[in-house]
């Protein structure tokens, strides 16, 4: 087990022949991900990285049986790519693209409503189940196999967390980069829920940042469902000023509930092991598991 992606996932790359798509597709193939082909409209019939290129996602699904897609297409066309993947029957759509207009994402998310589809991202590093499938842009070697699940809004901070977990002598079941945009397919709570229900995951690292209320929602859900697994939490941006966007489109403090302080307080009240310092994620996980 594991969640979202595993060794049986058949992955296609949308935006396959572009520079980002090519580079990361190559990296994923080298990692051992089962990349079965890619889509670039107008380049169908060609071969790229020894894999077939299709004009449409529908053709790709028909010919390869793909069930997972990773999207690298530019922001102006990314929402369209998400909807195309959904229409073609892809079950897990992972969108790496940063800078998609909010209005486009509102439409895309509405389009997915009621369908049995999992959208991860946009503006995320992707998903990795170590030793099985890397469907993302993360450095694979950092993620050693184990029993800790990771949910995070940020890219490099996810790598940081994974590195600390591994250096603590533990490993990762699946790491999910949910993305830093105001509208994302899978909010913190849903990603945490996936890992709570995964028998191979023993504990969870939940990393959030300022802006929005997703972490508080997840914390309350964790408490309501009986704190079934230990959760270590961190919120980046304790020192961020109000009203300024900190890189990610979603990382901005609007109201009092958006602050790192408020979220950390709620997380603590809900029984989560909150770390003030991002340097202590690994140590705290060991303590939470009673191993330190």
């Amino acid at each position: 087990m594991s969640v979202l992606v595993n060794k049986n996932s058949k992955v296609i790359v949308q935006g396959f022949t572009g520079s980002e798509g090519s580079f990361h597709a190559q990296q994923m193939i080298e990692y051992g991900t089962n990349v079965v082909g890619g889509v670039t409209p107008g380049k169908g019939g060609n071969t790229h990285l020894d894999r077939p290129v299709f004009n449409t996602v529908q053709q790709a699904v028909e010919k390869t049986g793909a069930d997972v897609s990773i999207i690298f297409v530019p922001p102006a066309f990314a929402a369209d790519a998400i909807m195309e993947a959904a229409d073609a029957g892809i079950k897990v759509i992972i969108t790496i693209t940063e800078g998609i207009p909010t209005k486009d994402m509102i439409y895309a998310k509405e389009y997915l409503k009621g369908k049995d589809i999992r959208l991860i991202g946009p503006n995320c590093p992707g998903v990795i189940t170590p030793e099985e499938a890397k469907v993302g842009i993360m450095p694979g070697f950092v993620f050693k196999k184990g029993k800790i699940g990771i949910v995070s809004k940020s890219g490099t901070l996810t790598y940081e967390a994974a590195d600390q977990i591994v250096k603590a002598g533990l490993g990762i079941s699946t790491a999910i980069g949910i993305g830093g945009d105001p509208i994302i397919g899978t909010p913190t709570k849903e990603a945490v829920e996936l890992l709570m229900n995964d028998p191979e995951t023993e504990a969870i690292v939940m990393i959030g940042e300022i802006g929005g209320g997703m972490e508080s929602e997840a914390a309350r859900w964790i408490k309501e469902t009986g704190n079934k697994k230990p959760v270590v939490g961190f919120i980046a941006g304790q020192t961020a000023p109000k009203g300024r966007r900190m890189g990610h489109a979603g990382a901005i403090i609007g109201g009092a509930d958006d602050t790192a302080e408020a979220k950390m307080r709620i997380m603590r009240e809900c029984g989560i092991h909150v770390v003030e310092s991002p340097a202590l994620i690994g140590d705290t996980m060991l303590k939470a598991l009673g191993k330190a």
Partner: protein, 399 residues
């Protein structure tokens, strides 16, 4: 992207939203001319002189004044233009006023009493839909209203696929207690406003106040409009609405180098790859006894050029007493970043403050060795914990 009141109002007007009319001016002479024109166009007897800066609370800060005649327009404009306007949103140093909006008087006497309302449109992240917020408490800070009298706020969420429906606009107008012509006007106002919001790809509208005039017209007295940066490629004509005098010069310079930089008030600069890790690094600085001087995300391709550009920007801030570079290499290799740091350091020359370089990920150890053997005043670290301890150590030396 934030824009000025006068620019926001022009956009609203183009979508059929009734506004308090006005003409923008950047000298007292132009202001008088604007007032004269406005009198001819609208018949207004009084004039409101409004400072144009990207911050709320302008009235309380002395940036909005009523002139009873053209001579007062000149005097007030003279006072306001060039002033450092301080409001609760500008910080203690305030913002320089370069333009004033000469506006018609809309609070004239008439058959009924003028009344102010609040209307806002923004994204409800949890629902993934836009929400219209309305309140009878016009002119008040909506966050305060939400905290103390939440029952005074009405919300309507808009289905993105069918858009705002007339019944929703009516619900809002009724909730504000309007009737007769004012009610009809408000329904039209809300519908036009929402259309403007969607078609301009805005990320926030705040019309505070919306005014019901004494003759039952509904109009926007103020307009705070925030455009979605990610959608600007669809609206090329909005590029000219950007006012870089409103932005920190260092932030403008950084954006030219493709760096995402936000100036803060602390004493330890930082340079990081990735927004989340950058925020986390700021937090580490604070926990180590310093205060972050900036947010700086160099993005995925940290190389000698971006590192040098980052260095130069951070070093322009005189408050910076130390710099922490934190790069988690994945695709970016630690040894290349280390070489980039050393090259940039040498290219800039006399850097007199300590620098801590924390490299992790691909070729981290090799990166650390390059830093240690460079002979420069640069400290290396591999673990984030060690970097934090280094910051504390270095700050002791500085103090």
């Amino acid at each position: 992207m934030n824009i000025h009141e006068y620019q926001g109002k022009e956009i609203l007007k183009s979508y059929g939203v009734r506004i308090q009319e006005g003409i923008v001016a950047d000298t007292p002479e132009d202001a008088v001319e604007a007032a004269r024109m406005l009198h001819m166009q609208t018949g207004t007897q009084f004039y409101v002189v409004k400072a144009q800066i990207h911050a709320g609370g302008r009235g309380k800060g002395g940036g909005v004044k009523v002139a009873k005649n053209l001579e007062e327009v000149r005097e007030l404009s003279k006072k306001i233009l060039g002033m450092q306007l301080v409001t609760h949103q500008t910080g203690p140093e305030g913002k320089k006023v370069n333009k004033v909006l000469i506006s018609q008087d809309v609070y004239y006497p008439g058959p009924s009493k003028p009344k102010e309302y609040y209307l806002g449109i923004l994204l409800d992240r949890a629902k993934g839909r836009n929400v219209i917020m309305a309140s009878t408490e016009g002119g008040m800070d909506i966050e305060e209203v939400a905290e103390h009298t939440p029952e005074k706020i009405t919300k309507e969420w808009v289905d993105p696929l069918v858009g705002l429906q007339p019944f929703q606009a009516r619900k809002i107008a009724f909730s504000l207690g309007l009737e007769g012509n004012a009610f009809k006007e408000m329904v039209n106002f809300i519908q036009a406003l929402y259309r403007a919001y969607v078609e301009t790809d805005s990320s926030m509208f705040e019309i505070n106040p919306v005014l019901k005039t004494s003759d039952d017209k509904i109009l926007a007295v103020d307009a705070k409009v925030n455009l979605d940066d990610n959608a600007l490629f669809r609206h090329k004509n909005y590029a000219e609405l950007r006012d870089i005098t409103e932005e920190d010069p260092l932030e403008v310079e950084a954006s030219k180098s493709g760096l995402n930089y936000v100036k803060l008030d602390g004493n330890v600069g930082c340079m990081v790859n990735g927004a989340g890790l950058a925020m986390a690094t700021m937090d580490i600085i604070k926990l180590s006894g310093g205060e972050p001087a900036n947010f700086l995300d160099v993005g995925g391709g940290a190389n000698a050029q971006t590192v040098e550009a980052g260095f130069r920007i951070i070093l322009k801030d005189p408050n910076v007493k130390a710099i922490l570079i934190n790069v988690f290499g994945g695709i970016v290799r630690g040894d290349r970043v280390a070489n980039g740091v050393v090259e940039a350091y040498k290219a800039i020359g006399n850097i007199n403050i300590p620098i801590i370089v924390r490299l992790q990920g691909t070729n981290a150890e090799e990166g650390a060795r390059i830093i240690d053997e460079s002979g420069l005043k640069v400290y290396s670290a591999v673990l984030l914990k060690d970097a934090a301890a280094r910051v504390t150590e270095v700050l002791k030396g500085v103090k």
